[in-house]
């Protein structure tokens, strides 16, 4: 691994981020990344956060038209409430703050505590949970569906609404609509390595893949012998379409888990488009790249979001962040 010691991995990355992005204020000690020009009078601030190891999520999405601040936790560990309270105070203009929270037990508990503390400090907070991963059955007997690729859609689209000056309840409603219209399915071709463990976090023999994997390497639905890109696309898209029947063109995210080359991701994207065409699902926009990663895991995920005209317009709106930039 390209590190010094496991204990300083997150702090080291934040120092590097500060060096690369003078347009962001990176508080290494308190672990908060904030737009240097925040807050904006009359505008809602979007704040997200989660365990590190999913870069560019979330810090790479801080900037114009997306997040106002991000709170990175330890690797695969949710941030602590103090970070979110600090971020909320830094970006609140009086118009309120929307927390974007991926549905994992730790993130939910810490953000819930942060909501209480920030409201005590007089900041108006709304919260939206992202839970798009169809590999997990949403039932009383699990922690519910996990938040994965749709987080990017929620942060981009709700961020654009906030940038336009929409009030908090409107930004929150849009964020909820994006989440409700999005579904994802992920596949791992290899396990990931956390710095603390120094070895693979789960055992996936070469020549096998994990279908329905989570972004922390959580096992999914089943393990099979290696499949071709074409077969994986069929499986992943059909898994998503079992749960989402788009009646309008979709936004498509073909996401890499961290160690899969773009050459392979683009090849996979061709297969995803082929199967979507076969299923008569028109694609409005496509994004291909490593956006919601799982350290050095090889693999990919497919996220579809059924987009109406408003969501599409907000998706196309200018964005200027370290990892996502267009229209400006």
């Amino acid at each position: 691994m390209l590190i010094n010691v496991a204990e300083t991995v997150v702090a080291d990355a934040l120092r590097g981020m500060a060096a690369a992005h003078p347009e962001l204020t990176v508080d290494v000690e308190n672990r908060v990344i904030v737009r240097r020009d925040a807050p904006f009078a009359g505008k809602v601030g979007l704040v997200s956060g989660g365990g590190s190891g999913h870069e560019p999520l979330h810090g790479g999405f801080v900037g114009r038209g997306m997040l106002a601040a991000a709170c990175p936790g330890e690797v695969f560990t949710s941030p602590v409430p103090d970070q979110m309270v600090r971020a909320a105070a830094a970006v609140d203009s009086g118009a309120g703050v929307l927390f974007v929270v991926k549905n994992y037990t730790g993130d939910v508990l810490n953000f819930d505590m942060a909501v209480e503390l920030a409201e005590d400090e007089g900041v108006q907070i709304a919260k939206v949970l992202v839970d798009d991963d169809v590999a997990v059955t949403d039932s009383l007997y699990t922690a519910g569906r996990r938040g994965t690729g749709a987080t990017l859609f929620v942060e981009k689209i709700a961020g654009a609404a906030a940038e336009e000056g929409a009030p908090l309840e409107r930004v929150e409603a849009i964020a909820r609509r994006v989440n409700a219209s999005s579904r994802s399915f992920g596949v791992a071709l290899s396990a990931c390595t956390t710095p603390a463990k120094g070895g693979p976090t789960f055992d996936l023999p070469p020549g096998e893949l994990e279908l329905g994997v989570g972004i922390h390497g959580e096992p999914g639905r089943e393990r099979r012998a290696m499949m071709t890109s074409r077969e994986i696309a069929d499986f992943a898209v059909d898994a998503v379409l079992e749960d989402l029947e788009p009646t309008s063109p979709v936004l498509l995210l073909v996401n890499g888990m961290g160690a899969t080359p773009l050459l392979e991701l683009y090849g996979f994207n061709a297969e995803v488009h082929r199967v979507l065409a076969e299923r008569r699902v028109p694609v409005a926009r496509t994004l291909v790249g490593n956006y919601v990663t799982s350290l050095d895991m090889a693999g990919c995920s497919v996220t579809l979001c059924q987009a109406d005209e408003e969501l599409l317009r907000l998706w196309d709106a200018p964005v200027n962040t370290p990892a996502l930039r267009w229209g400006c």
């Binding site: 949710s78 602590v80 699990t142 976090t201």
Partner: protein
């Protein structure tokens, strides 16, 4: 009777136990979670030991409340809020008395465990830290040794259970056959309590 010094010993003994067993906790967590439980609790209890040394709270309730707040501020993940709430609520239930009895601690710890159950939405048998804590609370009315043994047995008894809460729940039936890391660390916490009383 148990005074503030006893409670500080309990926290220090927990920190040592977590240090000693960190690799084991992480191994258990990599089987059904995400391989960070040992490191997270180590970071938290190291910070607890430091803040207790700096601020030297002088009642049992204040020791646990401060320890709980420190865990919430330093651990993250699910274990930060859950362990933090356990200690904070137990401390709150002890009030500001200078000394408390073992029976009073048992009652207070029961309130702490109930707060954990509410926060996490879990019940006994969901393969969580409660499976070690609840039997320990029950047995603490009898003796410290009984509580330690009950927590240990409770942690072992999570092996055949299917996880219904937290990250291990994503595994469904595949979580069966593994000991729950949270129940295991809870047994360390109760074991440290027994150690502090010895």
């Amino acid at each position: 009777m148990l005074d503030a010094a006893f409670f500080r010993r309990w926290m220090t003994a927990t920190a040592s136990a977590v240090d000693r067993e960190a690799a084991r906790l992480t191994d258990l967590d990599s089987a059904i979670g995400d391989a960070d439980h040992g490191a997270n609790l180590q970071r938290g209890f190291t910070a607890v030991t430091a803040v207790l040394e700096n601020e030297a709270p002088d009642t049992p309730g204040a020791v646990l409340a401060l320890a709980g707040r420190q865990l919430i501020s330093t651990v993250g993940g699910a274990s930060g809020p859950l362990y933090g709430t356990l200690l904070r609520r137990t401390g709150k239930a002890l009030g500001d008395r200078a000394e408390v009895s073992r029976e009073e601690l048992a009652t207070a710890l029961g309130e702490g465990a109930a707060a954990v159950a509410q926060l996490g939405g879990a019940v006994a048998g969901d393969k969580t830290m409660l499976d070690a804590l609840l039997p320990a609370v029950e047995a603490l009315g009898e003796s410290f040794a009984a509580a330690g043994a009950a927590a240990e047995a409770g942690a072992l008894a999570t092996v055949p259970l299917q996880a219904r809460k937290g990250r291990a729940s994503y595994l469904g039936e595949r979580s069966i056959g593994h000991q729950d890391p949270g129940a295991t660390s809870s047994a360390l916490l109760i074991g440290a309590l027994q150690e502090a009383a010895a």
